[in-house]
């Protein structure tokens, strides 16, 4: 159950693509069509337009290198797919004082409870958000040889309401995905007619 920031990834790629396209395109346009007008750009030596002999070349190169490293590392780290983080929910009661619950413990209990149902083969549950506005991320794998509707109804009518009851608050948002798994043994009663 991993997620990445799709929009951010695409925006970064667009910016990088635009920079490369603009650089390469401008260079080609300058060589082939003499842009900007009046400059004989094509005949110019590349070395003349670079600050090769300038004193600031090394500090500038070092700064660009370090900035490039920091930027690249930042982008690579943020691109790593992540699981929604588990939280510690804090409850305050006049009679029972303050109590804390790890959402990962509730999620694990919900997974175990769901897997005891014959329709559900596997469950992967994560609870985020806050104690008053919990958020559910869950993937349930249902048996392919059981009616699909029954498994989906079971999750929606039993598993999720039970979780909300344990948390003491309805989920502010729910993100549920279903999948299926084949039974280990196939039906041996079918006929192969040639």
């Amino acid at each position: 159950m991993f997620t990445t920031h799709v929009v951010r990834q695409r925006i970064i790629l667009v910016i990088l693509g635009l920079v490369l396209l603009a650089g390469g395109g401008w260079g080609l346009a300058s060589v082939w069509w003499g842009l900007p007008a009046g400059n004989d750009f094509g005949q110019a030596e590349i070395g003349n337009s670079l600050p090769i002999d300038q004193q600031y070349l090394v500090p500038l190169g070092l700064a660009i290198g370090i900035a490039g490293m920091v930027l690249s590392l930042a982008v690579l780290i943020t691109a790593i797919p992540r699981r929604p983080a588990a939280h510690k929910f804090r409850y305050e009661s006049r009679t029972e004082g303050v109590s804390e619950i790890e959402t990962s413990v509730i999620a694990k209990a919900a997974e175990t409870a769901a897997q005891t149902q014959p329709e559900i083969v596997d469950a992967n549950v994560q609870i985020g958000g806050s104690a008053t506005e919990p958020v559910l991320y869950a993937r349930f794998t249902l048996r392919a040889d059981a009616p699909a509707n029954r498994g989906i109804e079971l999750v929606n009518d039993r598993v999720i309401p039970d979780l909300e009851m344990v948390l003491g608050a309805p989920f502010a948002s729910k993100h549920v995905s279903f999948s299926f798994q084949k039974p280990e043994k196939q039906d041996s009663q079918k006929a192969v007619l040639i």
Binding site: T3, T4, H5, V6, Q9, R10, I11, L13, V14, L16, G17, L18, L20, L21, G23, G24, G25, G27, L28, S30, V31, F41, Q43, A44, E45, I46, G47, I52, G61, L62, I64, G65, I66, G68, M69, L71, S72, L76, A79, T141, A144, P147, A148, N149, I152, F171, A172, K174, H175, V176, S177, F178, S179, F180, K182, Q186, K190, V192, L193, I194
Partner: protein, 183 residues
């Protein structure tokens, strides 16, 4: 509501490769500058690169090829970012964005379900299923001579499975049968 499951494919691999190359280039540049500061001269590879650049004109073949490669690379990156990826799930009827409830079924899960059902059909020895939000394509292998009958049976079964799922938009079903084995 921000969706978690029903999202278009990310561009993690393209981004990772691009920025790994940028990281390597930045490290080489920074290292070369540090060595220049320490030793007072450029390291061998950097010196060769600077010498090559000094003698190069903008309309030399090497420079033109490098600029063309840059432009093409930029275009490829932009296209990969702008072309929308395919979603790998189908929304269920119980999905309600207004109630902040996202419910989806994975295309891989539908393939498993359909494959299991088709392989239970008489005379079917093997079924391979590929599912997208628009199409469920089933390739069936059978030793039977009456290919049309197997195709009709498989088509009916797959359609029944898809109709039985509470999908917001059911994909079309396409069954192709290949005769293999038998006499």
């Amino acid at each position: 509501m921000n969706r978690f499951w029903h999202v278009r494919s990310a561009r993690t691999l393209t981004l990772a490769i691009s920025f790994a190359i940028l990281l390597a280039a930045s490290m080489i540049l920074a290292l070369s500058c540090i060595l220049r500061l320490v030793d007072g001269r450029w390291p061998g590879i950097a010196e060769q690169g600077i010498d090559a650049l000094l003698g190069l004109r903008f309309n030399d073949n090497l420079a033109v090829i490098a600029m063309a490669v840059l432009a093409v690379l930029g275009l490829v990156l932009m296209l990969s970012a702008l072309v929308p990826g395919r979603r790998q799930s189908i929304l269920l009827t119980s999905d309600e964005p207004s109630a902040r409830s996202e419910q989806a079924i994975s295309c891989r899960g539908i393939s498993t379900l359909v494959g299991h059902e088709v392989e239970r059909t008489d005379s079917v020895t093997r079924a391979r299923v590929k599912t997208s939000p628009a199409l469920v394509h089933v390739r069936v292998q059978t030793p039977a001579h009456s290919v049309q009958r197997v195709q009709d049976n498989a088509q009916a079964r797959v359609q029944a499975v898809i109709d039985g799922l509470p999908l917001q938009r059911a994909p079309k079903v396409k069954v192709s049968v290949q005769r293999r084995g038998g006499n």
